[in-house]
């Protein structure tokens, strides 16, 4: 599996011929400024150290919740957003180092399909002109040639040639997305970046559009970066997948492997969130909290630790895993200020009753098996019952430390995939 791995990291010399796009340690931060002097007071780390590689004709899925930085990755690759750091290699050129003039060829060979078909086309422009625009911008001066190409391609995506004379608002969402595919195809690209191309469409149309994109990809050997929040679509459509969380890739590898046997707790949660009718399918514990942390102030250590159902207990602690998860759930729910309604109500009630309600809500046993934790929890719940959530949270976090919040996990090879999680700190890809 060495070939697989070197492709994964995108720097294997023997595979250089095959690699079309290689993103190395990409970082895109948005400064938060204040005042007329535009002093930087913070930065949103939308993309923070992302690396992946893509071969010719391959489909890579980038999956994650909204706010995970998927779209920023797309915009950074296309140089719509200047990356803060990192390199993007396209067919042997480092495009982050090229001037706008030298980017010309890249700008033709890499095309974008945007999320919302309703604003994918200029409402004041006939569809024919919109689809011909890439040709015009890239120097096809012969209007009749442009017209012939557009008519041909509009038919090939399943609409009739004279539809070009209509305005975008006269088409349905699915038709517009077909036209968007036609527009991206018209300059014969090698790479299409599709940013949630089907999220605004209903299921049946979604399948049609994916089938069209897949057919076109196969016919013309186009590599596709398919960005989606829908892991089920990624499973059906992509060769490989990268799972993003808060600007980082937490797991990447072959789709089959990553989705059928997810290694990272976040991937497990994503896969577990897809409703399934098959009985006996492996189920995964749900997330501790629902709040996605603020990307301008991401959690320390592993960014996922505040929501991770598999957050790691200190090695010296001898309590049951289930109990630990309940305690961690208590701690991070408090830190996220995301109290369940029954606890909110209980706080109003009498002290002992309130504490009992809190215990029940978080499923915390009276004795955990560790006296110091029992004592700390008692104090914390006391504080919570008296309404001081902040004190309760700080007591809990002091009593329940975890390696996940102190140390940033390295990228580890697990099988043929790479994972960023302390659970795999012992493995080194030798499997």
């Amino acid at each position: 599996m060495t070939g697989e791995q070197s492709r994964e990291s995108g720097i294997g010399a023997e595979d250089k011929e095959d690699v079309l796009l290689s993103v190395r340690n990409l970082q895109t931060h948005f400064p938060v400024t204040e005042g007329i002097l535009r002093r930087e007071v913070g930065r949103v780390r939308a993309v923070d150290g992302v690396s992946f590689a893509l071969q010719r004709g391959e489909i890579l899925g980038i999956v994650g919740e909204s706010g995970s930085g998927k779209t920023t990755v797309a915009h950074s690759i296309l140089q719509l957003q200047e990356p803060t750091a990192g390199e993007i290699w396209f067919d042997g050129n480092n495009i982050t180092a090229l001037s706008e003039r030298e980017l010309r060829s890249f700008r033709r060979r890499a095309q974008l399909i945007v999320q919302d078909p309703n604003d994918a086309f200029n409402p004041r422009m006939k569809v024919r002109d919109a689809i011909a625009e890439p040709l015009l911008l890239h120097g096809i001066r012969d209007a009749s040639k442009r017209r012939a190409i557009v008519e041909d391609i509009v038919e090939r995506v399943g609409l009739s040639a004279d539809d070009g004379d209509r305005y975008p608002h006269e088409f349905s969402g699915g038709e517009k997305q077909r036209l968007a595919i036609a527009r991206s195809l018209v300059v014969n690209p090698d790479l299409i970046i599709a940013d949630e191309p089907t999220s605004a469409l209903d299921d049946r149309v979604q399948s049609d559009i994916l089938a069209l994109l897949d057919r076109i990809r196969r016919e013309h050997d186009i590599a596709v970066v398919f960005i989606s929040h829908n892991i089920e679509l990624v499973r059906r459509f992509c060769d490989r997948v990268a799972v993003m969380y808060l600007g980082e890739i937490v797991e990447k590898g072959r789709t089959k492997q990553v989705i059928e046997d997810p290694a990272h707790p976040y991937t497990q949660a994503l896969v577990g969130s897809v409703p399934t009718l098959e009985p006996g399918v492996q189920s995964f514990p749900s997330l501790l909290t629902d709040t996605v942390p603020d990307p301008s102030d991401p959690p320390s250590g592993c960014r996922f630790h505040t929501r991770c159902p598999s957050v790691i207990a200190p090695p010296e602690l001898s309590i049951e895993a289930e109990t630990w998860t309940a305690l961690a759930g208590y701690r991070f729910t408090l830190e996220a200020r995301e109290l369940p309604p029954e606890v909110e109500e209980a706080i109003e009630a009498e002290r002992t009753e309130a504490i009992a309600a809190i215990r029940e809500a978080f499923d915390i046993p009276k004795t955990t098996g560790d006296d110091s934790i029992d004592a700390a929890m008692a104090r914390s719940m006391e504080a919570l019952a008296s309404g001081d959530t902040e004190a309760a949270a700080s007591i809990a976090s002091d009593a329940l430390p975890t390696i996940c919040e102190t140390t940033v996990p390295d990228e580890r090879q697990v099988g043929a995939r790479s994972v960023r999680c302390h659970l795999y700190d012992d493995s080194d890809g030798a499997e």
């Binding site: 007329i36 296309l78 700008r107 604003d119 200029n122 004041r124 015009l136 009749s144 012939a148 018209v186």
Partner: protein
Amino acid sequence: MERKSEDQSTTFEDIDWSRVEPTPKRLTPERLVTGIGLVLLGALFIYDRAGNGVGVVEAWDMAPIEWVILIGSVCILGYVIVPLCIAHEQTRTALAGVLRQPAALAAAVYLGIFVSVAVFGPLVTGYQELRFEHAFHPPLGATISGEPKPIDCLGRETALDFGTACHGSWEYPLGTNERGHPMGYLLVEGARVVLYVMIFTLAFVVPLATVVGVVAGLRGGLVDSVLMSYVDMQLSLPAIIVYIVGYMYWNPSLLLLLVTFGLLSWGGIARLVRSEVLQRREDGYVLVARSLGCSRRYLAKRHIVPNITNTLLPAVFQLFALLIVVEAGVAFLGYHQVELYSWGSTISESINAAVPATMQGRTTHPAYQIWWVSTLPAIALTCTVLSLKILGDRLRDALDPRGGW
């Protein structure tokens, strides 16, 4: 899917991209027309300065305002008329859309007549001498009796119990004012002033507002902060004060009025444009165009500006109306260039209002007795402003392919 069998049909696979060169910067028709026009104007200016008059009418000196308006007209020709002719198909569709509504049709017809009168009227009316003996002639169908009365009544005179009444005559079908100027002449002169205001606004103020708004919105960051701070500063500067200060140094002139009011009044539109641009900037088609490597200029021209016309057009027509009324107002108060017979000054001169204006020879008679002198320009002014506003709203609807109609 099968390929088309026709021989000429091209598909996208047929293009050999290694042989396609980037489009060079070309001489667009817009640039060509504007360039030629400006060169011709320059030649005309030199010829004029060499001592040969170029005034259309014999005694018509080319004042600085005329040169400015000519430059503005050339720019409008190059960057408004020429593109409209090139995109004649869309122009016709939009025009048909506008004219479908009776009110807009009436407004367009009125403005058409107004513009032709303003442009060609002076050729017909020529220069009019002062004829105090013909002052206060009533229009056709009206009479005037008592004071004031024309010294030489050219029309029929009928006897009253006391004195006589003078009837209107074909010599002055719309009557005359207190200097014996025919009202037709005054209306034409006033129309010319209003047309100057419109040309100046369209050629200089509107592009300035749009460019500043688009640049601030598209560039963002420091450029945006600086431009918008400047706009804030400008909005706090009252144009009337600047005009009066300028007035003390350079005497009142239409050019001064247009420069001060015109160049201090675009801030609001620039802000409006900027906020619209900020909304459009993240739209999918803008991202796609940018990912194709288009220039900012192309982006603004093809994608941004056409999509902000919903906001921009009514604001622009509102600005036309505003500046026309401001000019009339300033002239009404008497702070205008006396040689220019603005509609505002014509109204003012007739109504004997107690406004301080030492430079004006005012009639000492009640306004209602010579009602035509104030009523006719007032009607013209109202119709012009009203037509502009109707047409602006209508044009906005007609330009939207989603159809507000």
